[in-house]
């Protein structure tokens, strides 16, 4: 599997509830993640960060000897592995604090295991892309370093806007991205009235990446809402 390298990433779980730690460990293990370590407080977490050098962190906010936000800041002083906050603090203010610090995601308990898995997967994939930065689709491969498509050995260049759109879509591979988000990514903060232009760009992308542009298999339309890019390595 193309994702095997992600399943081998070292994941550090920080939470003061041992039962919850056990559960998250079992959720991740069942999903195939192999290297998981747990910490019950900030001291243990910091020690683990220094010694074990984790590649992904799931942090609780309320810890017995401090809070997850300051733990995050301490960790950031020497490491920049992706971190997701998983906490019972569901207030908007807390969310803004967490995401404002630069966390990769913020999830509020109680959570669905599937949602956690999906989010962890997206973050890992975004953070640890294949070294070659190649993404495989049904009919072609995307080379983000060179901003081109490799199809049947042929190299097709992408325009700047096509490149930006494909980047946003691949970052959220397997998930629907709204029309508004795509417009915003390409045309900036005031993306009204660009829907028709977006459709034109999508059509041109399809001509480049799809076997049959009128019957897309990789870049799917979700009518009225947005688009979804399916990658070959996504289940």
């Amino acid at each position: 599997m193309a994702n095997d390298h992600l399943k081998r990433k070292r994941i550090l779980l920080v939470d003061d509830e041992p039962e919850l730690l056990d559960m998250v460990v079992s959720i991740l293990q069942e999903e195939g993640y192999l290297q998981i370590k747990t910490a019950k407080n900030t001291a243990e977490a910091l020690a683990a960060c220094r010694e074990w050098n984790p590649e992904f962190g799931i942090f609780d906010v309320m810890l017995p000897d401090g809070d997850g936000f300051s733990l995050f800041q301490k960790v950031r002083e020497f490491s920049d592995f992706p971190i997701l906050f998983l906490t019972a603090r569901g207030e908007d203010e807390d969310k803004f604090t967490g995401l404002g610090l630069g966390a990769d995601d913020y999830m509020v308990k109680p959570f669905l295991p599937r949602e956690l898995i999906l989010r962890v997967h997206v973050i890992l994939k975004r953070s640890y892309r294949n070294e070659s930065n190649l993404v495989y689709l049904k009919a072609c491969a995307l080379d983000f370093d060179r901003a081109e498509i490799i199809r049947n050995g042929e190299h097709i260049a992408l325009t700047a806007k096509e490149f930006e759109l494909l980047q946003v879509l691949s970052r959220n591979a397997g998930r629907i991205v709204t029309i508004d988000m795509l417009c915003e990514a390409v045309w900036g903060d005031n993306p009204f009235g660009y829907e028709n232009s977006l459709m034109a760009h999508i059509r041109r992308i399809r001509e480049k990446i799809e076997e049959n542009p009128s019957r897309p298999e990789s870049l799917l339309t979700v009518k009225g809402l947005g688009y979804k890019l399916l990658m070959e390595d996504v289940r």
Partner: protein, 464 residues
């Protein structure tokens, strides 16, 4: 301040009325007294009576009738008859005091008529060409010796009285104004304080001057109200905090229930029957999760401890994002969402709290999912009619009966309702949607969907 004006008006009317009353009273008293005074004319008429009661006997002597004697004795007066030619006394009453001159010149007669003889006040009457003079006891009458008045003065008398009266009136009014404005100055802050009490709590009246007692009472009342407000606020905050605390503490245990139930549900090694049970546990835990979230937010909105982050929000983008968030999690595809595009979709911007509004739309989607466990299609749209923007969430699921619809429409707020709370297990999520719409100055409407399911419209005021 209206009341102060009213007060002044009433004061002035009362004063004018009392002045008029005073005038009439005085006039009446004057009349009464001068009527009594009129009786004093008797001094002169006594002289006339004595004159007519005197008869000459023919031999140079005179006789006073009993009537004349009677008058003299009643008034304690003496009488003399002065001869016109000689000025000598022709006759005198028996009680003539000593020292009364016996002869009178024209000058002394004139002086006597104007005034007194030896301090006895004199009245006169004619007896033929002769003169009758009556002398009354000393200090029984006071006579005006120079009894002439300037004619102009008499003629202008009404004018003079009027001038006097108006001068007096002006003086009284001035004095009144000075006194009243002094009182008003001390009343004004008190009245302002009382007027301000119902609206604001930061009322303080300076505790000095005429009405310092009142000011103290008002300040006490204001403090009491402030205290009550504070206590109430404290209680409400405590209640909201309590709910927030409970909903926070329940999240971790609920995570575990949800997590393990999901794992059991997805474990293909277990028999289908057991996995189905786990699914029910997961579904019910999810309901609990939503309930806890809703309860927390609802209590915060109700007790005004939820800060609103108002911003210009593009509703189309917000609703799309919410829909997509659900679609991305719905891997089984049990709840497809169809976007119903309308022509009025442009310019659907509103001043709103993005998080709250997203929550409202999420609640509607969750609501459809919870009530249609076997799946349904959701239809969502955003539109605008004049000033209001609307968000429509509709499904083709089982829907509701007319009775249930009516119940949802009329359901009181569960935070307010203290009866029938047992019957309000449903619709907490919907109530919250209504609450959020109302916080934004809009409303929520529920009805039957076109495809037989449930339809909810959220309306919020749009921006220009």
């Amino acid at each position: 301040m209206k009341s102060i004006l009213k007060l002044i008006k009433r004061f002035i009317v009362t004063m004018l009325f009392s002045l008029v009353l005073l005038l009439f009273l005085n006039f009446f008293l004057l009349l009464l007294i001068s009527y009594k005074q009129a009786a004093n004319h008797g001094a002169w008429s006594s002289a006339d009576t004595v004159a007519s009661a005197l008869t000459e006997n023919g031999d140079g002597t005179y006789r006073l009738s009993a009537q004349g004697e009677d008058i003299l004795s009643r008034t304690n007066a003496w009488a003399i008859l002065v001869d016109n030619e000689t000025g000598y006394i022709l006759w005198n009453s028996s009680n003539l005091p000593e020292g009364i001159p016996t002869q009178y010149s024209a000058a002394s007669i004139a002086m006597a008529v104007r005034g007194y003889i030896n301090d006895y006040p004199i009245t006169t009457s004619g007896y033929g060409d002769d003169l009758i003079m009556l002398g009354f006891p000393k200090k029984s009458y006071w006579k005006l010796i120079s009894n002439t008045f300037d004619y102009d003065f008499i003629r202008n008398f009404p004018k003079t009285v009027l001038l006097f009266l108006s001068c007096n009136l002006i003086l009284i009014f001035f004095v009144y104004m000075v006194v009243t404005s002094g009182v008003l100055r001390s009343v004004k802050p008190v009245i302002q304080g009382i007027e301000a009490l119902p609206a604001e709590r930061d009322v303080y009246v300076k505790e000095k001057g005429l009405l310092s007692d009142l000011a103290v009472s008002i300040n006490k009342a204001a403090e009491k109200l402030r205290n009550q407000d504070y206590q109430l606020q404290k209680k409400e905050t405590a209640r909201a905090n309590c709910i927030a605390g409970v909903s926070h503490d329940i999240r971790t245990p609920l995570s575990m229930v949800l997590g393990y139930a999901s794992q059991i549900e997805e474990n293909r090694d277990l028999p289908e029957r057991e996995r189905k049970k786990a699914r029910i546990i997961r579904q019910q835990s999810l309901r609990m999760k939503n309930l806890v979230n809703d309860l927390n937010l609802a209590s915060k909105l109700e007790y005004n401890v939820q800060p609103l982050h108002m911003d210009t929000v593009n509703l189309v983008s917000l609703v799309r994002q919410t829909a997509v968030d659900f679609l991305n999690l719905d891997l089984e595809g049990k709840y497809p969402i169809e976007w119903v595009a309308g022509e009025d979709m442009q310019n659907c911007c509103a001043k709103a709290d993005k998080g709250l509004l997203k929550r409202a739309v999420s609640n509607l989607i969750t609501n459809s999912q919870v009530h249609n466990p076997d799946g349904c299609t959701l239809f969502m749209s955003v539109g605008r009619t004049e000033k209001m923007c609307r968000i429509v969430v509709e499904d083709n699921g089982t829907g509701v009966t007319d009775e249930e619809l009516e119940k949802i429409r009329k359901a009181p707020h569960y935070m307010v309702c203290d009866r029938e709370t047992g019957n309000q297990r449903h619709g907490l999520g919907l109530m919250l949607v209504r609450q959020i719409a109302e916080v934004h100055g809009g409303d929520m409407e529920v009805s039957h969907g076109k495809a037989g399911g449930f339809r909810v419209v959220i309306r919020v005021p749009g921006t220009e």
